[in-house]
């Protein structure tokens, strides 16, 4: 089971919108998750990313991203109380070890949970990016800035699963031998095979004129309804998050005592985030002109 989703074209407004707009929406969601510790806001980012994915037909992929995000969030939650021992409410009194006290406080556990939720919200937003944005189109955006670096990144994106498949095949071949060879030998052979493959791909690039390559001219494509709505959603999410942050919405105080702002402003921000992220994908307009081929 793949936890990191692989892009597959689908008949959805999100998949039909230009890569820049969709990446903008995902980046805005990720930035919101990174800016706020407030669980209402980070939770809203998680819901928004999942709901947008589900509306775009990648709900199953987003569930898998959630499976990836969950242990990461749990890890952060567990590590935080071990690192910070501030806070008024002592839960576990630890002894002195390695020159410091190892007390676990309710505030440190709570702060860990909030940080875990924050990490999960960023992971979910990036998961949506991975599931809904064509990596070739995304890297094409960067080719005008640094053509060769972007192409190298595109190659890496394509070759990683190919090399993983190669390694899997070699592992199977090892199982087919009367006396399976040592893992190190198989790993070394897999590495040599990867180099051979890289040489072949480099040769393919050479015969397609890579050595004389220049940054491509800017493409001027008319904006579709989906480009416009998704870009607008990205702007709304970004503006809402930045303005709310500057206005002090969603404040969280972890130490010395735990306090989380959960007022109407936070609720409005959370609802606004979800609505903004999902709105371009709902209704009849979202279904217009999304099929391919």
């Amino acid at each position: 089971m793949r936890l990191v989703p692989v892009y597959r074209p689908r008949a959805s407004a999100l998949h039909s919108a230009r890569a820049g707009a969709v990446s903008g929406l995902c980046a805005a969601l990720a930035l919101t998750g990174a800016l706020f510790e407030n669980p209402l806001v980070t939770g809203a980012v998680i819901v928004a990313a999942y709901a947008a994915g589900a509306a775009a037909g990648v709900g199953k992929e987003m569930s898998r991203v959630a499976l990836l995000a969950l242990p990461l969030a749990a890890l952060v939650t567990l590590v935080n109380p071990l690192v910070y021992s501030e806070g008024d409410t002592l839960l576990i009194r630890g002894g002195d070890f390695l020159g410091r006290r190892w007390d676990v406080t309710l505030e440190a556990v709570g702060a860990g949970g909030l940080a875990g939720l924050r990490v999960a919200s960023v992971v979910m937003a990036l998961g949506l990016l991975s599931a809904a944005v064509d990596p070739d189109a995304l890297l094409r955006l960067f080719r005008r800035v640094s053509y060769r670096s972007a192409l190298t990144a595109a190659l890496a994106v394509r070759l990683v699963p190919v090399l993983a498949r190669d390694a899997g095949r070699m592992g199977e071949a090892a199982r087919c031998r009367a006396e399976p060879p040592e893992r190190l030998l198989v790993a070394r052979a897999a590495l040599a095979g990867a180099l051979d493959r890289a040489v072949d791909v480099a040769a393919a690039l050479e015969v397609r004129g890579y050595a004389s390559a220049s940054p491509p001219p800017r493409a001027r494509r008319p904006w579709s309804r989906h480009d416009v709505t998704v870009a607008a959603a990205a702007l709304v999410v970004l503006a809402g998050a930045v303005v709310a942050r500057l206005a002090g919405v969603g404040e969280v105080e972890a130490y010395p005592s735990f306090s989380v702002a959960l007022g109407p402003a936070e609720l409005a921000l959370a609802v606004g985030l979800v609505v903004a992220a999902v709105a371009p994908l709902l209704g009849r307009p979202a279904r217009l002109g999304v099929a391919r081929g």
């Binding site: 892009y7 597959r8 074209p9 064509d134 990596p135 070739d136 189109a137 094409r140 080719r143 595109a154 190659l155 994106v157 394509r158 699963p161 190919v162 095949r169 070699m170 199977e172 071949a173 090892a174 199982r175 087919c176 031998r177 009367a178 006396e179 060879p181 030998l185 198989v186 070394r188 052979a189 040599a192 095979g193 051979d196 493959r197 072949d200 791909v201 480099a202 040769a203 393919a204 690039l205 050479e206 015969v207 397609r208 004129g209 890579y210 050595a211 004389s212 390559a213 220049s214 940054p215 491509p216 001219p217 800017r218 493409a219 001027r220 494509r221 391919r292 081929g293």
Partner: protein, 516 residues
């Protein structure tokens, strides 16, 4: 007269640290719009010549070049692949290894984007080439979801998108099933006839390409051994290089008929003119079954969130049987072999093995993990692989055929198996190596070989099982299954209406007809 597209005079090339030159004193000219087949045994220099024509040799691979080789007036010694790519398109053997990007549209656009073409020009060229090659439905697909045949068409589109004057192809059908291989050759013929693209194609199975070709260059030990029309080449091969002769040319040569036919149609015409209608000799029956070496009962393989690969397959392989497992790509051949070995478990049904099962998967290189050939299979295995003198060689430096033989011995691991399973063991192999492999398979206690190669199947098998959509759709003697097929049939069978499958057998029947 038009300027030649390719002109070579005394061109020689040696790879760095190679003991002898790979290309020797190449003299040739290729005209615009010509269709040339490059024939030759493995290691004869075909691939290196193609790589020289597109500038990879010497600029990418390194080595020493001498003499002159010009493509569209550019010397390949002075101009690199980037400059030559303006006039050359290249398609290599393995489509998986030449696809660079994840999306089909992006992949085809890449050569034009490298040239800094405007987005409008790129979009138009991609649409046009996709329509011309019939792949417009693939444009929005991801490259990792395409079949081998589709991927090879995408590679062809990427090679043609800038309308090169010269298209170079290195065994482009070797990884494809017969249907996809034939389709690709027909496409090349159309490109050549409708758009005047000069084509140079290296192929082991020359019978596919000869009907479309104007000319054949046969490479022998790095030099051009024969430069002639297809008919002239077949006459030369019958006398000088039997393994290069097509099955139909071998049939005619053995039967004392002439001239050698270039196509099945020409062979049928010649036989009809000579009033020869060979009839199959009776008595071609399956051997009586021995002890079961492998038994599959009602085997299903259903992938999680994927298709049903095998549907209730019943197969009994007896000791001493050699079974050819055939079917188009995706029919379930490889899955059946992996299941028989125990690499995957059936979702329903039972697999019974009469002892150890050896499996050689599709890529022989996956079995070779040591630095010395002798460390892979030991001295006896090396000897059985015909590599007794190559104990110190690095397996990666061996030729494709040598690696295949060594990998087979590694998989067999000294013997003692009830049955050996081989998955597409002849990919990229020349006829001489295939004949040797057929001999080796006949020495095995029992074998099941998945193959697309009908001639090879007819050469070693005493039973042919045809898979379609995960089910066995034909199971019989080679004569029964391959004698009357359209695609799953040999050229000799097509020419003799299924009376014979192989040249020797057909020649015997023709000789009997002539005697009558």
């Amino acid at each position: 007269m038009a300027e030649p597209l390719v002109r070579a005079e005394g061109f020689c090339f040696s790879y760095a640290e190679a003991a002898r030159p790979t290309l020797r004193e190449i003299d040739l000219t290729l005209e615009p719009g010509s269709f040339t087949v490059l024939a030759g045994l493995s290691g004869s220099g075909k691939s290196t010549l193609l790589r020289a024509l597109c500038g990879l040799v010497p600029h990418f691979h390194g080595g020493d070049a001498a003499g002159s080789l010009e493509v569209a007036g550019m010397s390949v010694r002075e101009h690199g692949p980037a400059e030559l790519s303006r006039v050359c398109g290249v398609v290599m053997q393995d489509p998986e290894r030449q696809v660079v990007l994840g999306g089909v549209r992006a992949e085809i656009s890449l050569p034009l984007e490298h040239r800094g073409e405007s987005p409008g020009a790129v979009a138009r060229a991609v649409e046009e080439v996709a329509l011309a090659l019939g792949i417009e439905r693939l444009l929005d697909r991801r490259t990792d979801t395409l079949s081998g045949g589709e991927l090879q068409r995408v590679a062809l589109a990427a090679a043609l998108v800038h309308r090169p004057a010269l298209l170079l192809l290195d065994e482009p059908t070797s990884q494809l099933d017969p249907v996809a291989g034939d389709e690709l050759v027909w496409l090349l013929r159309r490109l050549n006839e409708d758009w005047g693209t000069a084509v140079v194609i290296a192929e082991h199975r020359t019978e596919r390409c000869l009907p479309a070709a104007d000319r054949v260059l046969a490479m022998e030990d790095g030099a051009v051994g024969c430069d002639a029309s297809p008919e002239g080449f077949l006459g030369w091969a019958a006398e000088r290089a039997q393994p290069l002769a097509t099955p139909l040319a071998q049939l005619f040569a053995r039967a004392g008929l002439g001239p050698p036919p270039v196509s099945v149609k020409a062979a049928r015409e010649a036989l009809r003119t000579a009033a020869l209608t060979p009839r199959r000799a009776p008595g071609d029956t399956r051997p009586s079954p021995g002890e079961p070496a492998l038994r599959l009962r009602g085997v299903w393989l259903e992938l999680e969130e994927g298709p049903t690969v095998l549907r209730g397959v019943d197969l009994r392989v007896a000791s001493g049987e050699r079974v050819a497992l055939m079917g188009r790509n995706g029919a379930g051949k490889s899955s059946l072999l992996r299941l028989a070995k125990g690499l995957v478990e059936p979702t329903r049904g039972k697999v019974r093995r009469g002892g150890e099962v050896a499996l050689l998967l599709q890529n022989p290189g996956d079995y070779l993990v040591h630095e010395r050939a002798e460390d892979e299979a030991g001295p006896p295995g090396l000897e059985r692989a015909g590599l007794a003198g190559r104990a110190e060689a690095n397996p990666r430096d061996l030729s494709g055929g040598e690696r295949q033989r060594l990998a087979l011995e590694v998989a067999l691991g000294g013997g003692g198996h009830a049955v050996a399973l081989l998955d597409e063991p002849t990919r990229g192999m020349d006829r001489a190596h295939k004949a040797a492999l057929a001999e080796r398979i006949r020495e095995l206690p029992a074998a099941v070989v998945a193959t697309h190669d009908t001639e090879f199947a007819a050469a070693f098998a005493d039973r042919v099982v045809l898979l379609g959509q995960g089910e066995i759709i034909a199971d019989g003697t080679p004569a029964e299954v391959l004698g009357g097929g359209w695609h799953f049939s040999t050229d000799v069978a097509r020419a003799t209406d299924g009376a014979a499958l192989l040249p020797a057998e057909g020649a015997t029947l023709l000789a009997a007809e002539l005697a009558r």
